[in-house]
């Protein structure tokens, strides 16, 4: 009987663990989104450093491989932006996919204005992962609606 109760307690603590892990993930997602869009709009030169050297950015189907190409795109091709984030969701990836490399999937949506023209709705999906105790972007997928 003790064995039975032990199993229930373990299951409950597993559930607790999962609950807390999810809460942690949510916090990371919210923080990331706030930092990313603020830098993109107000401090464009610093955004490139949020990406891994091996990161990949797909902008409306156009692919940019590697930190250098991404930085170049962000500084030379992407005009001044003004993002308005309206929706944010995120999930943790399982070990089955990423092993010990903690990785989070983020889906963000909102509207963006380029050079003061009218705003366009967009959706963006990210994979962020930990490197040297900092979150870095591994995959960035942007689509104008």
């Amino acid at each position: 009987l003790i064995h039975f109760y032990k199993r229930i307690l373990i299951k409950m603590s597993e559930k607790d663990e999962l609950h807390n892990k999810t809460l942690e993930t949510i916090e990371h997602v919210q923080k990331f989104a706030e930092i990313f869009y603020r830098k993109l709009d107000e401090d464009r030169h610093s955004v490139g450093n949020l990406y891994l050297d091996t990161a990949t950015l797909t902008w409306n189907g156009n692919n940019l491989e590697g930190g250098e190409n991404i930085k170049s795109f962000l500084l030379q091709k992407l005009p001044k932006t003004d993002h308005n984030l309206l929706c944010l969701d995120g999930q943790n990836l399982p070990a089955q996919a990423v092993g010990e490399q903690t990785t989070i999937l983020i889906t963000a949506s909102g509207t963006v204005r380029y050079d003061k023209k009218s705003s366009v709705p967009f959706q963006q999906n990210f994979l962020i992962t930990e490197k040297d105790m900092k979150w870095r972007i591994a995959v960035d997928n942007f689509r104008s609606q």
Binding site: H19, T22, L23, I26, V29, Q30, T56, T58, W59, N60, G61, N62, N63, L75, Q76, K77, L78, P79, K80, L85, L86, C87, L88, D89, G90, Q91, N92, L93, P94, Q96, A97, V98, G99, L105, T107, S109, Y114, D115, K117, P121, Q123, N125, L127, A138, V139, N141, R143, S144, Q145
Partner: protein, 431 residues
């Protein structure tokens, strides 16, 4: 006796002529390359009752109207050999709505003055050809500089690369003109792309049916999935209760609860959402990450609700994270975002359509890999996928693929054509 040419009779463009023009334009439009060939347009009507030469401004205007309405994403237009005196119909309205136009051929026309070309300022061309127009000779050596001042991003002029000019970077900051043209599809690898397209076809077929239960097979036992939405409160009635939008939910525990965990709860949740019909012609696909342990791809597009309180058309963004399972894969993470479509989105929505346009869309990865040899393991994977798609047995599937250099998209097109022509024998489908 003297002769004088009279002005040609004014023939209005009625609905019958409009239909003929549309048909002819559709014949001359290359969907894959987004290129419209209007070279010597009048020749298509030679010897017929209805004559639609492009040099008649009402015909030219009608053609422009058809472009704006049907193919506003056109990237290249050839207007050569049309005796054009000007290109006025390519007006401000045209330039505002047809923003992807990069290539324009105006060879062998009758544009007499560069001021007619100046009216095109704002058209973000990278390639232009004006040879055979009187204004070119008239300008002599000033031609290149004048053209450059109208089209600053031009790279090729009259089939020659634009000569570089040293100048000052007065305003070097990027504008929306420096943004790349939208591509409807990107895939890291074309082999993975074939598998993903097949997966999408099956997934959306099941999702659009009356029973979503079979989707259980698509998910890993421990998969997680969440839905978020944004829109008017009335419009999103069927979704707002379960919308996992961190920016709108106050209680942390609710954010945790709304994560659908495990494939039974996920499919049970999906079954609750309004029944749908997706329109694959509105789809975009980004297969942005592949590795031996997982792939990530995002589909966006539109669907119509077949029931539910509103029966509206919606725009969605769906991100799938899949891991290998058996000879295929299954979903471990999924985010689904739903919102109202823009009026532009709505224009493109159709009710019956197939995945053909997405399959045939050129992907930047394809151009690099077409000449590579396809290894045996990949051949087997492609043959299996093709067999499931067409219903043919593995031998015939492999043969069909082999005949098309293992180009999955081409083999699919060839198969459709052969099937419609009744050229495929019954034995091909015997397993």
């Amino acid at each position: 006796i003297t002769m004088e040419a009279t002005t040609p009779p004014h023939v209005p463009v009625n609905s019958e002529l409009t239909e003929k023009i549309k048909t002819e334009m559709s014949r001359r439009y290359n969907v894959e390359k987004k290129a419209l060939n209007l070279n010597a347009f009048h020749k298509s009507f030679a010897g017929e009752e209805m004559y639609a030469p492009l040099w008649r401004s009402n015909v030219f205007c009608k053609v422009v109207e058809v472009i704006i309405e049907n193919i506003p994403d056109v990237q290249a237009i050839d207007l050569s050999n049309n005796k054009l005196l000007n290109v006025d119909p390519l007006n401000a309205d045209f330039r505002r709505k047809v923003t992807d136009l990069r290539i324009l051929y105006l060879k062998e026309n009758r544009v007499a003055n560069i001021s007619y070309m100046e009216k095109l300022k704002g058209l973000n061309l990278t390639e232009l050809n004006c040879s055979g127009n009187p204004f070119k000779d008239r300008l002599g050596s000033a031609y290149t500089d004048r053209i450059r001042s109208i089209f600053p991003n031009l790279q090729t002029l009259d089939d020659k690369p634009m000569p570089k000019k040293i100048g000052f970077d007065e305003d070097s900051s990027p504008t929306s003109n420096s943004l790349p043209v939208t591509q409807s599809k990107f895939a890291k690898s074309s082999e993975a792309e074939a598998l993903v397209l097949q997966f999408m076809e099956q997934y959306f077929k099941l999702y659009d049916s009356d029973n979503r239960q079979p989707l259980l097979d698509a998910y890993d036992e421990n998969a997680v999935m969440s839905m978020s939405c944004f829109g008017g409160r009335d419009s999103m009635k069927d979704y707002i209760e379960d919308s996992r939008n961190f920016l709108k939910i106050y209680h942390e525990n609710r954010k945790v609860r709304l994560l659908q965990t495990g494939r039974l709860p996920i499919v049970s949740f999906l079954t609750k959402l309004p029944k749908s019909t997706h329109d694959p012609t509105t789809f975009t696909l980004d297969l942005s990450f592949t590795s031996s342990t997982f792939m990530m791809f995002t589909v966006t597009g539109m669907f119509k609700e077949r029931e539910g309180s509103e029966k509206r058309v919606r725009h969605f963004n769906r991100c799938f994270l899949v891991v290998p399972r058996g000879s295929g894969f299954c979903i471990v993470n999924e985010t689904l975002f739903i919102t109202d479509p823009t009026s532009e989105n709505c224009r493109k929505f159709q009710t019956t359509s197939s995945m053909e346009s997405l399959k045939n869309a050129s992907s930047s990865a394809q151009q690099a890999t077409t000449s590579q040899e396809v290894d045996q393991a990949t051949q087997r994977t492609l043959a299996t996928a093709f067999s499931e798609l067409t219903g043919m047995n593995l031998t015939w599937s492999a043969q069909a693929l082999s005949e098309n250099q293992w180009n999955y998209d081409r083999a699919t097109t060839m198969f459709q054509q052969a099937k419609e022509a009744g050229k495929i024998p019954a034995e091909a489908f015997v397993k």
